[in-house]
Symmetry: C2
Subunit: 100 residues, 2 copies
DNA sequence: ATAGTATATTTATATATTTGCATTCGTCTA
DNA sequence: TAGACGAATGCAAATATATAAATATACTAT
């Protein structure tokens, strides 16, 4: 894996994904979306006990930065991980924040 | 893996680690520190072509948030990953930013 | 069309981050 | 001890981000 593969554009893209994930509430959201799960905005806002508009805003950020995808089905919009592999990132962090 | 394990403190800690990593230059730094490699501030600032003070600042952030460790040896300070597992995060991102 | 529910966007204010420069601090060596 | 070198810090300007409230849009059922 060569360094030059990580050109400026890809670094920016990666940084944007991380930046989107770098928020306690958004990590909690991602935690609920592991293993290909799909949840609606309302389900998430009820699960986490935060405002609907706040939830939608967080989801919008995650989607905008390429972490999540969404699919509308009737009145609901389901959100899910764009890359299943991103569950690994959350799990890594979980392990790293275990014994400190 | 239960949700309640991810209490507020650990979410904050995880978010802080991600925030520390969520910067193009810092991702580039981490890329150079894969596989247990240890580099000095000067080596990194020359590898990346950025100011020494900027480099030191970025390294300080990564260390402060628990991503890196450092060890002084004479005039030099070597920086290295606190958890080898964090290489996985970088690799995940690399794969996720491949074909977009 | 209208009402009701589900999402999304906009706005403004407050707060934080990035960066380079100059300076300072530690450590080694002549 | 002085000078050189590597690293860390303080500062300030530009830029970016968070937050919450208000408003707007999209769809469904009647």
């Amino acid at each position: 894996m060569k360094i030059q593969e990580l050109d400026a554009d890809r670094l920016d893209m990666a940084a944007n994904m991380l930046k989107a994930m770098a928020h306690p509430m958004r990590i909690a959201i991602l935690k609920h979306l592991e293993a290909g799960k799909k949840l609606t905005v309302t389900e998430i806002h009820e699960l986490l006990g935060i405002e609907q508009s706040t939830t939608s805003h967080h989801l919008g950020i995650l989607k905008d930065k390429g972490v999540l995808c969404s699919r509308r089905e009737g009145k609901n919009t389901f959100y899910y991980l764009k890359h299943d592999i991103l569950s690994q990132v959350i799990n890594c962090l979980q392990r790293c924040t275990c014994g400190e």
